[in-house]
Structure formats: structure tokens, C-alpha cells
Symmetry: C3
Subunit: 274 residues, 3 copies
Amino acid sequence: MMLGKYLDNVRATIPLVHNITNYVTVNDVANVILACGASPIMADDALEVAEITSICGGLNINIGTLNERTIDSMLLAGQVANELGHVVLLDPVGAGASKLRTSTAERLVEAIKFDVVRGNISEIKTLVIGSGTTKGVDANEADTVTEDNLESMIGFAKNFAKDKKCIVAITGAIDLVADANKCYVIRNGRAEMSKITGTGCQLSGMITAFLVASPNEKLEATAAAIATMGIAGEIAFDHMQEGDGNATYRNRIIDAIYNMTSSTLEMRAKYEVR
Amino acid sequence: MMLGKYLDNVRATIPLVHNITNYVTVNDVANVILACGASPIMADDALEVAEITSICGGLNINIGTLNERTIDSMLLAGQVANELGHVVLLDPVGAGASKLRTSTAERLVEAIKFDVVRGNISEIKTLVIGSGTTKGVDANEADTVTEDNLESMIGFAKNFAKDKKCIVAITGAIDLVADANKCYVIRNGRAEMSKITGTGCQLSGMITAFLVASPNEKLEATAAAIATMGIAGEIAFDHMQEGDGNATYRNRIIDAIYNMTSSTLEMRAKYEVR
Amino acid sequence: MMLGKYLDNVRATIPLVHNITNYVTVNDVANVILACGASPIMADDALEVAEITSICGGLNINIGTLNERTIDSMLLAGQVANELGHVVLLDPVGAGASKLRTSTAERLVEAIKFDVVRGNISEIKTLVIGSGTTKGVDANEADTVTEDNLESMIGFAKNFAKDKKCIVAITGAIDLVADANKCYVIRNGRAEMSKITGTGCQLSGMITAFLVASPNEKLEATAAAIATMGIAGEIAFDHMQEGDGNATYRNRIIDAIYNMTSSTLEMRAKYEVR
């Protein structure tokens, strides 16, 4: 199985992605969606989200900096996307950190059929047990996927996917992308990416673009987007010069996505299927 | 006619620009306004927009990520700006993509006397025919201004300006800036600028600053701002190095505006008046 | 007294900082908080701010782009932070520019016990006299702290601190950090930093992180954060190359904070205690 074609599919079809997302990382999300070859539109008012979703190919719902007005818009847009058969992704940012985020993530999962749910391990666990060990918007270290607990975490991911009838992407030092039967274990990326705000949000936007471009191979497309982000983090890190820090690293990662080719993606992707 | 002095006027007078704009590109808008020598202030609540507008020289209204709360603020601020004789610009982001955006743009144009309306061709056409062929927030390719349809597009722009009693700026591969009698056709810029989110929003902020600085030559000031942005896109592109992508390009364009001189603007501006 | 340890304390304890802040500069605030070694979380809805504040070590309240919804959240979060004994900082962006901002800043100061209030001189003066000479979000030149009026400004700062029972940080070409008895006069930084949107907002986020990490030496921790920002501005400026402008400078300052060491901070900090 080759991942490069999923990037090529994005470049060839220029998917339009509707994002209802937080105001912290929204600009980077838009630029990453452009970098991978797709086109972003941001709209969060209930009076227009149905229409905006209908002209797009996919919907990316991110609950960072949510409020009552935007929660209504998320529910509405998600239902319209479902009716139209568009792909929908949930990024449950900070689920577990507040009852509002936890209950909103739960409401969304109940009301909307998501193709992919992407979060860190703490956020995903919160969706299973209803309360979290989330430390703010970052994963609790005690929960991290490691080589030691990998087998059981793969089982957890597959069970989650089976139970919620969706693909789950648990991202961290090791990334897992699972449906009920199959799990991609991806080992690209750099720890320094966690020193940039919003790499997770950016990834969710990019996954949505990949899903729109390859609707019949959603598991593989999700894995390809995650590998693309991880490899971009590696390439960007290789180009870091003395004095560079997280601001330059942020820009260099987006640049690396912009310049990513399917052959680089093929060559550098480190993954196994379990 | 020389365009350089309009940039010098901004640098000499440091206009204060009130922006009611979207949360996607707002940071870049602020930095571009600073880069050209002006000073930005963002405020969108109905309880303060009248006062904020009154202490500024100009008002930039951008309808990306609008909602009911901010629409009221736009109407209020625009009316105050009109009463005070301040310049007001409309950027109808995504007009044609949803009824909310189309009708809001129409309401604004009816309620407020705009000095300049700046958009892509799809957005501007939407303001004429009441419904659009906008593909998200980008122009529909079928609508693009080209050398082949230039004559008729110039006529369209002049008619729009005459009908709406404002200057219209239609930006794309070829930029048109027209009042009822005269049209600047500007051929600066690079196609790669469309791979950065918000270059249009940034330009609208910068045009507003130029208008405040040269209130008696609004057509020329608008053309100068557009040429400045296009030339900055060219200079930034010339400085791109291997591995650079749209994130670095974004920064380099703002940098190039920061370093733009009136003589560079004079030398590199490519335009004709029709 | 050595300032370096306050930076080391941040790096050692990774404080979680809750930010209720404006949508213009929020992304840079998050990246600066990460750069100095802390962890940011942004949340502004009344339904979750109490909980989010309770899991954090400190709260940074910034009134740029405020609205009625977020004002309620600021009041609520501030009171919870006070009850829990968490540090709370106020950044009264634009106080004096509108009645809404002035009265909101006053309401906050009355309802919440702030550990630190940080603003430019115009904003701080507004909190004393109830109306301002603020020019938008920048300080009025007539108000600036200079070598000539330094003695009286130090007195003003100490009186403010005594009267409001908090530390006050007045930042500009010369920075003052005072409690009722003691005033740090800091002379780091570059004038060019004012050509970047949000360096003040970024600083407020970073000060909050420093306060959480050194709760028993708040005056010194605040001074250390301010020196860190100023030195980063100097280092970044030293690395500027031909063609660089305010966008690159923005990134380089954040990078310099990311790479700041306690020994660099010690060596380059220029301050006296009065």
C-alpha cells in the first residue's frame, strides 16, 4: 500500500474544506489546508453554515474556544454534511478539561456520524469514559502511547472505532489510525512539534482535505495525512538553523507541506499495519 | 502620475485604521497595516465601535466569519464613519457563497456610503446580480479578468463604480481599480499569492490606510496600495529559497511591504490607465 | 538579585496559563507562552472558564476585542482565580480608547484582585483618571516614560501599585515594574518592536507564566519576564537580514524567547532598582 497517491489526489482535486474551528490556530489551519493543495473556508454562524457546508466537500469541526453560538452551528453543519454524504471530522480539543468540552464532544458524537475523530490520547479516552485526565489541551503523560503499551493501545483504538463506527486517529509520539479491523502505527514526527500551538488543529484540517480527495479509502487517506504532517515536522527540523525556535519551526512545517511530493511521502513514511 | 507619494503619505501621517474583520486573517491584517506605516485597531462590539471609529481616520469592514453581533457593529460603525466623513472600505469576503454573506454585503452597500469596495470578481459580480458563482472564498475561474475579456471587464468595473457611487477594486491576476470614468489596470503580483490565506484581507486593510492618508486622490491611492501589495509579492517571491513555501512567503510579503520605498514602488509598478 | 532563575523556574514547572484574550494576537500569545517553557490554554465561554481556570496556575485577562459575552467570562474567571489563590494579570488593551474598554477595565480592577496590571502608560493612566489619552491601542507620545520624567513616573507607578494593591508594569521605551516600595527600571528592547502587532499581549501572557512559576517573588518574576521580552527583541534584531521586516521580526522574537537561557538573561538584562 502506497500513501503518496492520497496527497496527489488532494493536489488534483483541490477539495474545498469547511472549518468550524477555534480562533487560536485558525490562520495556520487555513494555510496548512492551502499548503497541501486544498482550499479552506471558515464560517461559524448558524445562519450560513448549512449553505457553506453544502458547497464544500468536507467539514472539519474543532471544539477549541467553543461557545454556545458555535456549538449550535457545529450541530447544524454536521447534520447537513451527513445528509449530503460529505466527510466530517471531529477534533475534540480539550475534551476532559471542562464539562462543556466533554459534553459538547459527546453531543456531537451522538448527533453526527463522523468519518474520523482525531485527538490526543487524553481527549479520545475522555470520549470513552466520559471524564478525562486531560491536562489543558495537551495529553496527560500517563496516558501516552508507547512501545510498551502499544499492543493494548491498538486494541483500544480498534474498539473505539468499532464502538463509535468511525476511524479514530490518536496522535502523539506514536500515531495510531484505526478502524474496527486495522490499525496504522505511524512513527514520523518530532517531539518539538508540541512546542508549536495548533499542530493538532492543522493536522485535522489536512486530514479532512485528504478524506474529501479519497472518499473510498478513508483509513489510508487519514494515515497519509498524518504521515505528511510528521514528515514535514522532520524536514522542517532538519532545516532549523542556529537561533531558530518554535515560531520559525511553525512556518517551516507549513512550508514543508507545501513542498511535499508523493515520492518524499512514500520514501520517508514510517509505518506498519497491525 | 506617480504612485510613490501615496505610500509616503501613509508613512508621514501614520493613519489609524479601524478594522471590523474576520478572525482568520486578522493578525496578518494588523501586521500589514503596521508594515505600510499605519496603525491598526480592531474592535467589533456594538458598544464601542462608534467611538473607536470616531478616533480613527478610516474604517475597513470585512465580512469573513461574520455573525449577527458583528453585522450590527458593521452597520453602526459604517454610519458613524459616514457622518464623520471618514473613509470606509468594504471587503465582501465570500459574497455569493451564502445568502447571509450576499444579503449582508447588499445591506451594507445600501446603508453605508463606501469609498471603495474591494473583492475578487465573483464577489463583485454577486453585488451586481444578487447571487454568485463564488467558489467558497476564492473567485470562480470562469469569471476571471483576462487579457481577452479586459475591455468588457473595464466597462463592467466602471459601470459598477458609477452605479454604486464608489471606487471598485477587482483583484486577481490582473487588478482593476475604477471609478465611473477611469480604470487603473495593474499587472503586478504573483499567482502564488493565492496560496496564502488572506492576501485580499491584508490588501483591504492597506488600501484603507492609503485612503486615509490621501483623501483627495482616492482612486490613485487605491491603485498605489494594490501595486504595493503586488510588488511585495514579486519581491518576496524573488527572495524565496529552496524549501520555502506559503508560510515563509506570507512573512516575506509583509516584510517587503515594510521595506517598500516610494522609488521601488515607482520603478516596479506596472499599470495603465484606461 | 539575579533574574535568570525566574526563567528556569518556568522551564522546570511548565505552568499552565489560562488566557481570555483577543482574537488578533492570540496565536502569538500561545506560541510565546510555549516558547518560554509554559503551556497555554485559551477558553472564553462563561460555561467553562471557571473550570478551566481551576486546572491552571494563572489567568491572563486581556480586554482587546472584548464583548459582553467575554466580559462576563473575565469577571467569572477572575473571581474563581482569586478564590483559588491563583495569580491573575490584567492587560487593559485600549483602555481610554472607548468607554467600554475604560469601564470594563475599571470593573475588572474593582471586582478582581490582580497580582499584576500591565499596559502602556496611556492605559495605566486611564485606570487612574478614568478617561484616557490613548491613541487607539498605542500609547500617546505625550505620556511616554523618558529619562527626563523618570523620577516622577517611578513615583506614579509606586502610587498606582499602592493604591490598587498590585504590581504595575508600565511598558514602553523604558519599562517600569513597581510595587508600593520598589521599582524596577528596565532598559532592554528595541523601538522596532512596536511595529509588530501584539508584543504587549505576548508579554502579558509570558509574565503570567513567570508569576505562576515564582509565586513568592512576583515583582522580580515580572521584571524577569519583561527583560526576557526586551532581550529577545534585541537578539532578534541583531539577526535581522536584508529584506527582513516586521513579520520576520515577529517570528525571530518568539524564536529568541524559545532559545533564551538564564545566563543570557543575566548577562543582557539592563535594569536598576529604585
